[in-house]
C-alpha cells in the first residue's frame, strides 16, 4: 500500500536516475543508427542473403529464372571443379605474398618516416602515397605497358645494363610474381598510412625508459615497439588480406587470368562462372565459399594475434 501524497513521486530505490536515463536514451541511440543499419541491410545484407538463396538453387541465366532448390549441390560441384582448385591455390599464394611483402615494406618505410627530426617527411609521404591514388584499372594498364616485352621501359632498362628482357606476363613462371610485384607497388601505401599512424601514436615513455636502461635499437623495436604496434598491424593485415583475397581488377587488366590459369583468382573464377558460363547458382556458391574462408581466416588471425599480444 502506497503512502498517501507520494503516489506521483517516482520510486528512485527501484528506478535510480541512471536506469531512467538509459531507458530514455536507448531508443534515441537506436533511432540514430537506424539509417545506417538500414543502408547496411540494403547494400550488404540483402545481396548476401540473395546470394545464399541462389547458391541453393539451380539458376542458369539461359534457362529462365531461378530454378529448383538443389541444396548444397552447387557447392559440391564448385569444390570439385579443377579451375576452382587452381584459383584457390593462386589466391592463397597471392594473398600470403602480398600481405607479407607489403607489411614488411610498409613497416620499414613507416619506421624510416617516423625518425625524429626527419626533414621533408611530408614530401616523402606524399610521394609514397601516389600509387594509392591511382585506380586499379589504371595501375594495370600502366604496368602492362611498362612490362611489355618489346616496348616496355622495364625490359629497355634491363637491356641497357646488359640483362635480358623477360616476358613478364607471358610466362607461367613469372606471371604471378609479376602480379604480386605490381600489387605491392600499388597497395603498400595503404599499409604505410595505417602503420605510420600507429607508430606516431605509441607512448614514448616505455621507449625512453628502455633507452635509459641501455637497450639497443633492435631490442627496443622487438620488445617494445612491435608488441605495442601489434594491434595496428593486425588491423592492417586483415584489411589487406580481405582485399587481396578478392583481387579481380588487376588480374583482368594484366593477364585475364593467364597464361593458362596461372594467375586466375577466386574472384576472377566467380566472375567467369556468373558472366561467361551464366551459372548464377554456382557463382553464388563460390561467393559464399569465399566469404566463409575470409571469415574463418579473420577469426583465426584475430585469435592468434590476441594470444601473442596478451602473452
Amino acid at each position: 500500500m502506497s503512502i498517501p501524497g507520494t503516489e506521483s513521486q517516482p520510486n528512485t530505490a527501484v528506478n535510480p536516475p541512471s536506469r531512467r536515463a538509459t531507458r530514455v536514451l536507448f531508443p534515441f541511440r537506436i533511432k540514430m543508427v537506424l539509417p545506417t543499419i538500414f543502408a547496411l541491410l540494403l547494400i550488404v545484407g540483402y545481396p548476401l542473403v540473395y546470394s545464399l538463396w541462389i547458391s541453393l538453387h539451380d539458376y542458369d541465366l539461359t534457362e529462365g529464372g531461378i530454378g529448383d532448390f538443389v541444396g548444397l549441390f552447387n557447392f559440391g560441384k564448385v569444390i570439385r571443379l579443377d579451375p576452382f582448385h587452381t584459383a584457390a591455390k593462386n589466391t592463397a599464394v597471392l594473398t600470403v605474398s602480398v600481405v607479407v611483402i607489403e607489411l614488411a615494406f610498409a613497416l620499414g618505410l613507416a619506421l624510416l618516416l617516423n625518425q625524429p627530426g626527419l626533414r621533408f617527411k611530408n614530401v616523402y609521404l606524399a610521394i609514397l602515397l601516389i600509387p594509392l591514388l591511382v585506380s586499379p584499372v589504371a595501375v594495370g594498364l600502366i604496368w602492362r605497358l611498362l612490362l611489355h616485352p618489346d616496348l616496355g621501359a622495364i625490359n629497355w632498362a634491363l637491356n641497357g645494363i646488359g640483362l635480358p628482357g623477360q616476358e613478364w606476363l607471358g610466362q607461367q613462371s613469372t606471371a604471378m610474381p609479376t602480379v604480386i610485384g605490381v600489387d605491392a607497388w600499388h597497395e603498400t601505401s595503404l599499409l604505410l598510412v595505417i602503420i605510420l599512424a600507429g607508430l606516431t601514436s605509441l607512448p614514448k615513455d616505455p621507449i625512453e625508459a628502455a633507452t635509459v636502461d641501455g637497450a639497443n635499437r633492435w631490442q627496443i623495436f622487438s620488445t617494445i615497439t612491435l608488441p605495442l604496434l601489434a594491434p595496428v598491424m593486425l588491423v592492417a593485415m586483415l584489411i589487406r588480406m580481405i582485399a587481396a583475397m578478392k583481387t579481380y581488377d588487376l588480374i583482368y587488366i594484366l593477364t585475364s587470368g593467364g597464361p593458362g590459369s596461372s594467375t586466375e583468382t577466386i574472384s576472377f573464377r566467380i566472375w567467369k562462372l556468373g558472366f561467361t558460363a551464366l551459372d548464377m547458382g554456382k557463382a553464388g556458391a563460390a561467393s559464399i565459399l569465399l566469404l566463409l574462408v575470409i571469415l574463418a581466416m579473420t577469426m583465426i588471425l584475430t585469435r592468434v594475434m590476441k594470444i601473442d599480444f596478451e602473452s
Binding site: T62, E63, E167, Q172, G258, G260
Partner: protein, 454 residues
C-alpha cells in the same frame, strides 16, 4: 580518292575524333542530301514511320569505326523519324557482361532498346529467350530489310539460330592471312629468306608451310622483323587466332553432329602443335600475353611479315597516320583454305522499352542506301551489293577478298554457350603456349570441359 591517300581525313578516328567528324561532315552531308527524306532501293521507295517521334533509343555499341560511321548519320534518321538515338560506346571486353545483366532484366525492363550482337553470343541470346525473332518482322519492313541481300554464309554465322532469323547482319569481320606484299617482291628480302630456309619464298598453301615461313623470317633480322604478329592472350584473342589454324588443317571443335568434342583429335592437336611452334619461334616476344592492340601496333610499325588477323587491321594500317605500312599490306585466305569469320548483327531484346521504335532504326540502318553509305565510309559490308560497287572496291582494294574470306570462313559451333566455349578453349590454349601443358594434354582437358556444353 585512293584508300591510302593521306589527304583522306575521313577515317582518322583513332587519333582525332573531332577532326574525323568535321572532315566527314561535308562528305556525309553530300551523300545524304540526295536521300534526305526516303531511301531508294531499286524501284521500291522505302519510307519510315514517324509514329515514334519523340522517342529516344539507347544502345550499347563497340567503340569502333562502324559505330562512328553510323553515329554521323544519326541526324538523318532523326530527321526522317523524329527518333533520337544515343550510343553508349564501350570497348569490346565489357560488352557481354553489360548486355547479359540487361537482357536478364525481364520484358520491357532493360536499358537498351536494340543490340549490337557479336557472332558468338547469338545462340546464347536467342536460346535464352532474350531476343525477338526479327525474321518475323522482315516481311512487313516495306523492303527496308531483305534477307536475300546477305549471303547464306553471313546469315548462318550471325542471323540464324535453329533455323530462325533472330538477328539482322550488321557487318562482317573475316579473318585471313595479312602479309607484306612489298617484302614478297623485295629481292634482298627473298635472298635472305632463301639463305635461311633453303627454298624460295612463296605464299604458303598449308598451315605447316606457313609456320615454316614465319619461323624462317623470324631469323632474318631478329628484333626488327618478326615472322608473325600473334595474340596469345587468354580468352577471345587466342581463340579467334587459333581458329584459323584449326580450320586451316581441317579440324573442328566438335564432330559433324555436334555430339562430341573433336578438338583433341589428331587434327586439333596438330593445329595446336603448329600454333605453339609459330608463337614460340615465329612471333614477337611476349606474344603469349598479347592482344589485338599489340598485334595491330606491331603490324602498323612494320615489324611483322604476317598476321592471321582481322581484315580491319589492314584497313587501319592504311588509314592511321602513324602507320609505316601504307600500301604494303595485302590479305588472302588462311593457308589451308579456311579461316574464322566473325560478324556483328542487330537484335531487339525482349527487355527493350521501345521494341517497335528500335525496329524502325534497324530498318533504316540496314536499308540499302544507308548500308551502301556505311560501306563507302569504310565498313566491311555484310550485304552483297557493296561488293558489286566499283567505287567501293576502288576505294578499298582489299574488300575484293571479303567474298572469298566469308565464303570459305567458318564461325563457332552451334552450342548455346559459345562464350563459355571461348573461355574454356582459351584457358587451355594459353596453358599450352605458355608451356604449362603439352598440346595433347591441353586439348584433352579442353575436350573434357567442352563436353559439358552439349
Amino acid at each position: 580518292m585512293k584508300a591510302n591517300d593521306p589527304s583522306n581525313g575521313l577515317f582518322d578516328y583513332y587519333m582525332n575524333r573531332r577532326r574525323l567528324i568535321q572532315s566527314a561532315g561535308a562528305a556525309g552531308l553530300a551523300l545524304a542530301a540526295a536521300n534526305r527524306l526516303s531511301g531508294i532501293a531499286g524501284a521500291q521507295e522505302i519510307t519510315f514511320s514517324r509514329e515514334f517521334e519523340g522517342t529516344t533509343l539507347n544502345a550499347l555499341m563497340e567503340d569502333l569505326l562502324e559505330t562512328t560511321l553510323i553515329e554521323q548519320m544519326l541526324p538523318d534518321f532523326e530527321a526522317l523519324t523524329g527518333i533520337k538515338v544515343q550510343f553508349e560506346k564501350v570497348v569490346y571486353p565489357v560488352m557481354h557482361d553489360k548486355l547479359v545483366t540487361q537482357l536478364a532484366a525481364g520484358e520491357g525492363s532493360g536499358t537498351y532498346d536494340f543490340l549490337e550482337v557479336d557472332f558468338y553470343w547469338v545462340y546464347e541470346f536467342a536460346r535464352a529467350g532474350w531476343v525477338e525473332e526479327l525474321g518475323l518482322r522482315v516481311p512487313d519492313s516495306g523492303g527496308a530489310i531483305d534477307l536475300t541481300r546477305y549471303t547464306d554464309a553471313v546469315l548462318a554465322i550471325n542471323s540464324l539460330v535453329d533455323g530462325k532469323n533472330f538477328f539482322i547482319p550488321m557487318y562482317v569481320y573475316p579473318m585471313g592471312l595479312l602479309y607484306r606484299k612489298d617484302l614478297m617482291e623485295d629481292q634482298a628480302f627473298k635472298d635472305s629468306y632463301k639463305t635461311i630456309a633453303g627454298i624460295d619464298l612463296a605464299m604458303p598453301t598449308t598451315v605447316e608451310e606457313y609456320v615454316a615461313v614465319v619461323k624462317a623470317i623470324n631469323q632474318i633480322n631478329p628484333g626488327e622483323m618478326y615472322g608473325a604478329a600473334m595474340q596469345g592472350m587468354q580468352g577471345d584473342p587466342i581463340v579467334m587466332e587459333f581458329c584459323n589454324y584449326l580450320f586451316g588443317v581441317g579440324g573442328s571443335f566438335y564432330n559433324a553432329d555436334v555430339t562430341a568434342p573433336s578438338i583433341n583429335d589428331e587434327l586439333g592437336v596438330k593445329a595446336l602443335t603448329l600454333y605453339v611452334d609459330a608463337m614460340a619461334n615465329g612471333a614477337q616476344p611476349g606474344a603469349a600475353n598479347a592482344d589485338l592492340n599489340d598485334t595491330g601496333a606491331l603490324w602498323r610499325q612494320g615489324k611483322a611479315f604476317s598476321s592471321a588477323s582481322y581484315l580491319f587491321v589492314l584497313a587501319d594500317a592504311e588509314n592511321m597516320e602513324d602507320s609505316q605500312v601504307k600500301g604494303k599490306g595485302a590479305v588472302t585466305t588462311m593457308p589451308g583454305g579456311s579461316g574464322l569469320t566473325g560478324a556483328w548483327s542487330w537484335g531487339v531484346p525482349k527487355s527493350s522499352p521501345n521494341p517497335d521504335a528500335a525496329w524502325e532504326f534497324i530498318k533504316w540502318v540496314e536499308s540499302p542506301d544507308v548500308a551502301m553509305k556505311r560501306a563507302l565510309g569504310g565498313s566491311v559490308a555484310a550485304q552483297k551489293a557493296p561488293y558489286d560497287n566499283p567505287e567501293y572496291i576502288a576505294k578499298y582494294p582489299w574488300m575484293a577478298q571479303v567474298k572469298d574470306l566469308v565464303a570459305t570462313g567458318q564461325g563457332l559451333p552451334a552450342v548455346t554457350k559459345q562464350a563459355q566455349l571461348v573461355e574454356i578453349t582459351g584457358r587451355h590454349l594459353s596453358d599450352a603456349v605458355s608451356g604449362g601443358k603439352a598440346p595433347q594434354d591441353a586439348m584433352d582437358a579442353a575436350a573434357e570441359e567442352l563436353k559439358e556444353l552439349l
